[in-house]
Amino acid sequence: MARTKIYVPRETAAVSVGADDIAIAIARRAKELGEEIELIRNGSWGASWLEPLIEVLVDDERIAYGNVAASDVDDLFAAGFLAGAKHQQRLGPTAKIPYLVNQDRWTFWRCGLVAPLSMDDFLAHQGFDAFRNAVEMGAPAVIDVVKSSGLRGRGGAGFPAGIKWQTVADAAGEQKYIACNADEGDSGTFSDRILMEGDPLGLIEGMMIAGYAVGASRGYIYLRSEYPLTHSILSRAIELARESGWLGKNIQGTGFDFDIELHLGAGSYVCGEETAMLESLEGKRGIVRYKPPLPAIEGLFGKPTVVNNVVTLASVPNIINLGAEKYASFGVNRSTGTLAFQLAGNIKRGGLVEKGFGITLRELIEDWGGGTASGRPVKAVQVGGPLGAYLPAEQLDTPLDYEAFIEIGAMVGHGGIVVFDDTADMAQQARFAMEFCAIESCGKCTPCRIGSTRGVEVIDRMVAGDAREDNYDLLVELCDTMEDASLCAMGGMTPYPVRSALKYFAEDFSSAVGADE
């Protein structure tokens, strides 16, 4: 009899709430009972609120059990979960979980589905088809397809990927590089991680296509050190690709050489900024560079470099396979395609939701997220990481669209959505934005380095009720200076959360005892 396939994710969120213990318990119990099983450590489907979510394959259908604990395992066997039997943790077929069904899985379609470190499984799920197609099309056609898809940088800046690729392709020079930004430092974001843990070979394929398109023979992945499990999975995936001839010289007889080096960051937030990342990749302090020159002209080691985020690169294979038109059919206006939104913080059903642009915050937070975890009303939502604005509940109907967000003084960024309930103190959150900037500033420019420290002090004085009007004006002026005169987004956008807190939650700055009347 064939062995029953059981899937237990090896993904940071699932493991952080006990997936490894469950895998061990399942293996042990199956042995005791003499059951023949095959334990597969897949990636996560992204429904983090259901983790650990385990599955069993019954008649070619995967049956899910959610929020499982290691202590449930004996009970699951007794209930007959190997046959997909009823149990209080049973969710039914994975393919029918509403949270997952209603998504537009373009980039993340293999996450959860495949065994991330099985080359056979990858190849069985269209692995490297897009690379082969790209080579057949030729480099200029690949760049054209990426351009007409409208794909924009998913790291936060939203710059059109195709134009960046074209610039690097046109730049003079023998040596060019692909630098994948996997320094996913924004709080509330984890889509890069879910992709790298669930479909690392998909990212490698995206980098290969980028390398082929622009004429780069070397790729770098700059991965944050806070992701040790990702590091282990990605390292192994790169080895696997090398061992099977998908990285290295003359890949699969195409004449194209490409290899990838994996670098670890070292806990610096600002290294997610592209030029600071390049400095760090060169072994230096992660200090922001002046632009121009753009990295596309003078990037890593002074050579033309494509710097793209993980999700940007991993979106490319399907754009090649299914066509630019199909990709551009998702989304609205100049925000075409899909984004992996990440529901985080005080939310009942947190996780990853890949949808076309144009969906509203309310749909994501209420329909997918189910409201706050605490059951209290939503007070504020921070979109786009620590440099993103705090939006009040009244603005939840804003569609997620790069331009629509800019219009309301906010940004979509990397798609992280952090929900706060009505117990949040927004003056404290504004103070944290300044404090975080002071901790993480690279120190090169004064508005960011000094402005952030002064910002903390001014907010403290306001909250203490000390000359509130004057300090309010001072804080606004400080925000202007930081926004106008900082070198990069760190200092330049720290004012976003501060200003929005001031604008929408002014009362929080005056609640302290002894406030001036």
Binding site: T12, A13, G185, T189, G265, G267, R285, F432
Partner: protein
């Protein structure tokens, strides 16, 4: 690999394994951290010499990044995520609890434990999160925090 006191021979082997390329300095420092737990003045001196950099260059890199410590850490390293998603789920209270429970302040420690904040473990849908000796834990409340810490001490 067991962590051990700084050893020039081993340090040289690590540097050589990166072909003594100066651009690998951040990666070499990670390897030193894994092996020696912290970056000593002797380590900085040797890195400067073997990578053909100035001591100031190396010191600048070591001091720039949060990951590289210049004093020996405790036996266990506990990091509490204090970024926004975790704040929304009570990480400020959890940090207070951690300090009380471990008897040390943030950014400090003793021979047993070092306690520090971390700005995002990327486990934001299972907040609040902590990392203990390189392993991430999600949905951590005070009770679970104490249980995780207790299991560490028990395993020693």
């Amino acid at each position: 690999m067991k962590q051990q006191a700084f050893d020039q021979q081993i340090a040289s082997e690590i540097i050589a394994s990166f072909d003594a390329r100066a651009e690998m300095l951040v990666q070499i420092l990670h390897a030193f951290m894994n092996r020696f737990a912290w970056i000593s003045e002797d380590a900085i001196r040797q890195l400067a010499k073997e990578l053909n950099l100035s001591r100031a260059d190396v010191h600048g890199v070591v001091s720039y990044y949060h990951d590289f410590r210049t004093t020996p850490p405790g036996r266990h390293i506990v990091k509490v995520c204090e970024a926004e998603a975790c704040q929304a789920m009570g990480s400020r209270e959890l940090s207070q609890h951690a300090q009380r429970s471990l008897g040390v302040d943030m950014y400090s420690g003793n021979a047993d434990v070092s306690l520090e904040p971390v700005y995002c473990l990327g486990n934001c849908a299972c907040s609040p999160a902590i990392m203990v000796n390189g392993k991430t834990y999600g949905r951590v409340n005070a009770e679970r925090f104490d249980a995780i810490v207790a299991s560490l001490e028990g395993s020693e």
